[in-house]
Structure formats: structure tokens, C-alpha cells
Amino acid sequence: MIKRSRLRPFRTLGHRTTDRIWRLGAGARLFWLTLISSGESFRRFHLTIREVYFTGVMSLIIIVVSAFFVGMVLALQGYNTLQKYGSSEAIGVLVALALVRELGPVVTALLFAGRAGTAITAEIGLMKATEQLSAMEMMAVSPIARVIAPRFWAGVIAMPVLAALFSMVGILGGYLVAVPLIGVDSGAFWSQMQANVDWHDDIVNGVIKSVVFGVACTMIALFEGYDAPPTAEGVSRATTRTVVISSLAVLGLDFVLTSFMITL
């Protein structure tokens, strides 16, 4: 008897490990099925547009407000350091680069996971729990093609747009702090920014990041909902997992992508 209880931690560990691996496989399978069932999302593009509208509008306010504050803080912190070296006009570059390369895509993805991602998980989980997905199956309509795929592409489309918006509003916030408040020269602020932000290295790479985050966050949210046990508790756990897993995935992927972008 003692022997068995000593082994229990290992058994638990084993169960957890196989469970994780199983979920990873199931997630990859759903991803694959979504990709091959995507025809309808484009043929009947209004289905996708409708979801872009929902996910976009849902995250819009929180993203605009956060971006504004992030931009203002960046300008304050940046000025504080830059003025020691007598280069406070470079503040525009600093704010723009920080936003376009890192904070725009990453913070947008984190906010998206918390706002739109959880809503997607809850919606799909509830559709499953109330047998709406089963009913669709019985009507000879594939839920993956009709429900999952349009939401997936909507997330992939919405994320870069939201990230771009985040960067723009952030820069505006930075401008308001740097120029009217601190008194940096407006012309220097913009011209330094224009001269030093590179189209490919900064902007394209930032867009690539946010597309990848869009794929990851949306797919995680969809999978958690699709896989949730069809109970209230199951759905609520799934929404929590969406936030945790998406956030970790975004930060992890950011490191990987950044290291590739810098070395290549």
C-alpha cells in the first residue's frame, strides 16, 4: 500500500505529460482540419467579415486605451534616459521602434487573448455544450468549416490591424507627452522617426509577428472551446487556459521570431 502511494506523484506526472502531448496533437489536428476546410470562409467571405467585425470591435477600446498609456509611458521613460546623453530629439525614434517592433504586436496579442480569445473560447464551448455543433453536424454542415474556420481567419486578419492601430495610437500618446508636455521639438520628433524606422526591418517584421500571434492566439482560443468538456465548469476552465496558454505562446514565439529576425 505504501509503495503505491509513493508512486502516485510519478503517476500524476505521467498522466499530465501524456495529457499535454495528447492535447498538443489534438490542437494540431484541429489546426490542420481548419486549414483544409477554409474554402468556405473565403468563398462566403461575409461569414469571415462578420467575425472580423466582432473580434475587432470587441478588442478595439481596450487596445486604443492601452496603446495611449503605453506610448505616454514610453516617452516619459525614454526622455528621462535620453536627456542624460543630450539626445532627447531621438525620443520619437525610441517610441516608434519600441512600439512597431515589440510592444505593438506583443501587447496587442496579450490583450486580444484576454478579450477576444476568452470570448471565442466561451462562445465555442457554449455552442458545444448546448449541442449547437452537434445539431450542425446533423444538418450535414461541418462546424469546422462553418464556425471554426471563419473565426480563425477573422483573428488572423484582425490581429495585424489591431497591432498597427496600437502602434499608431501609442506614437500619438508618445508625441503628446514629448512635444507639448516636455517641449521636444516637433520637427525633430517626426523627422528622426522617419529617418530611422526601416520599412523592412521594423514594420514588415512587426507585421509578421502579429500575423503569427494572430494564428496562435485564435487557434488556441478555438481549440480550447472546441475541446472543452460540455459543462459550465469545463467552459470556465477552458477560458482560463486560453489566457494562460496564449500569453505564454505569444511571449515564447516573440523570442523565437525576434532572434530569427535579428540574425537573418
Binding site: 455552442m127 448546448t130 449547437q132 452537434s134 453536424e137 446533423m138 450535414a140 454542415v141
Partner: protein, 267 residues
């Protein structure tokens, strides 16, 4: 074209090792209302899922229109399902669509009908279930009985050959129950469909069914017309029809030895 639109042949099925059905045989003749009755957990809903091909049998087969359901490709299965309409126990209406759009859904997915035609068809289906006036409501604004009628309108949207009803009477007030009861019979006769009703409400089911199967312990325990079964002296049928607590259908879920369970607890 065989006389039976659905045939269940020596079917066995179980979830995770616990066998639920063991050698079930049933036939569903065209144009009839056939009921499957049995206690909660006797696998009635599962039987409908097997007919719809959502799960695969462990042994035996289900044939719909002479085609073996679990041997179909995905396309074949979807073709078969277009002959079926299913009314889920809780309606399963799409909560993000209005009543109108719920009924229009199968038409939009499977036909190229112009909008004006869809409009007329949807209103006709809603009229048939008495809810034409509710077409602009959202599912959350409906009572249980209304939701089930909308789900019924959606199930018959494409004039299926078979309509399956999962517990159509459960949880309804007596009036809604009577309404649904009449609807099932009327729609069946008017549209020439075959109806499969899963239920444990003896009174209503006996009222509208042409033929009844009783399932218990994974097999068909009794079958016959409602008139025959009412007179039946089989202990199981007697227990069910008269609602006795214990009898051939045990009160307890299959379990190990009680004493062993209580004393053998190990922390």
C-alpha cells in the same frame, strides 16, 4: 426502395468499455411514427446518434435507405444526413441567430434558393409550428416549448424523409406537450415523413406512436403497438407503463459489492 427506411441490425455499442447496447434489432417503416422508450440512461439518445452516424457501432449496423451508415465516406454521410432532421432534447438553436435565421440556416447552407423563396419557406415552416409571429425573436427570448417548436421548424426546413425527436415532451407544461404531440403526428402525416421518437413519457408517446420499442439492459425488452403493450403482462412493460420504482429494471446503476465498497476504502 425497401419498406423500412431505417433498419438497426444486431447493433452493439458501448462508451469506454461499458456496453450500452447489446444486439439491438429495430425497423422503422416508411411513413410511420415509431417510438423508442426506456429509462434515463438506457441509451436512447445514443441510439439516435448511431442512426445519424455521429458515433460508430462496435458491432452490427444501422442502415438508412439501404445504406450502411458507418461505412459511408464523409460526403456519403452528409448526403444521408440531408434526408434526416433531428430535434435535439434542448432544441440546440443557434443562439447568435434569430428564429428566422435559425430556420433559414439549412436552406442557406444547402440550397441556392433566392432570398424571396427562402423568406416564404421560412414563414411557411414557422406557420406550421404556430410561430410565424415570433420570427424576429432571438432564441433566448423563447420559452422551452417555443424553442422546441422552432427547432422542429428548423428540422423540417428541407423536408427530410426521417425526423428524429429526442425527448420532445420532457420538461414541458401540459399544454405545450399537447401542442407538440399534435404537431408530430400532423407533420408526419402531412409531409409523409417517418418519425422516430425517443421518450420516456408513456402517455403522450402511446397516443401518437404506431409502434413502440422498449429498450432495457441494452436490448429490446418488448415491442408492439401501443394497444398491445398497454395490455401486456410482461413484468418490464408493466413496471414502465405503471411507473413502479423497482422491478425488472433495477433502481441501482450496476455497481460492485456494496459492503466491499464501504469497507475497502483506502486513503
Amino acid at each position: 426502395m425497401t419498406q423500412n427506411i431505417v433498419e438497426i441490425d444486431n447493433l452493439s455499442f458501448g462508451y469506454k468499455g461499458r456496453m450500452l447496447h447489446q444486439g439491438i434489432n429495430m425497423v422503422f417503416p416508411r411513413g410511420k411514427v415509431v417510438a423508442i422508450m426506456g429509462g434515463s440512461g438506457s441509451g436512447k439518445t445514443t441510439l439516435l446518434r448511431l442512426i445519424g452516424g455521429q458515433i460508430r457501432p462496435n458491432k452490427g449496423e444501422v442502415r438508412v435507405d439501404d445504406q450502411v451508415v458507418h461505412k459511408q465516406s464523409r460526403e456519403g454521410l452528409y448526403q444521408l444526413r440531408r434526408k434526416m432532421g433531428m430535434l435535439f432534447q434542448h432544441g440546440a438553436l443557434f443562439t447568435d441567430l434569430s428564429v428566422y435565421e435559425n430556420v433559414a440556416f439549412p436552406m442557406r447552407e444547402h440550397t441556392q434558393l433566392p432570398e424571396s423563396m427562402i423568406h416564404d419557406l421560412v414563414l411557411m415552416k414557422l406557420h406550421a409550428v404556430g410561430l410565424r409571429g415570433a420570427h424576429q425573436l432571438m432564441p433566448t427570448e423563447l420559452s422551452g416549448g417555443m424553442a422546441r417548436r422552432v427547432a422542429l421548424a428548423r428540422a423540417i426546413a428541407l423536408d427530410p424523409d426521417i425526423v428524429m425527436y429526442d425527448e420532445p415532451f420532457a420538461g414541458l407544461d401540459p399544454i405545450s406537450m399537447g401542442v407538440i404531440c399534435d404537431l408530430i403526428r400532423t407533420l408526419n402525416d402531412a409531409l409523409g415523413t417517418t418519425s422516430i421518437i425517443v421518450s420516456h413519457d408513456v402517455k403522450e408517446t402511446f397516443l401518437i406512436a404506431d409502434y413502440v420499442y422498449f429498450v432495457a439492459n441494452g436490448t429490446v425488452a418488448a415491442e408492439g403497438t401501443p394497444a398491445d403493450l398497454s395490455k401486456s403482462s410482461l413484468p418490464f412493460v408493466h413496471q414502465f407503463v405503471h411507473g413502479e420504482k423497482d422491478g425488472p429494471v433495477p433502481f441501482h446503476y450496476a455497481a460492485g459489492d456494496y459492503k466491499q465498497d464501504l469497507l475497502g476504502f483506502e486513503a
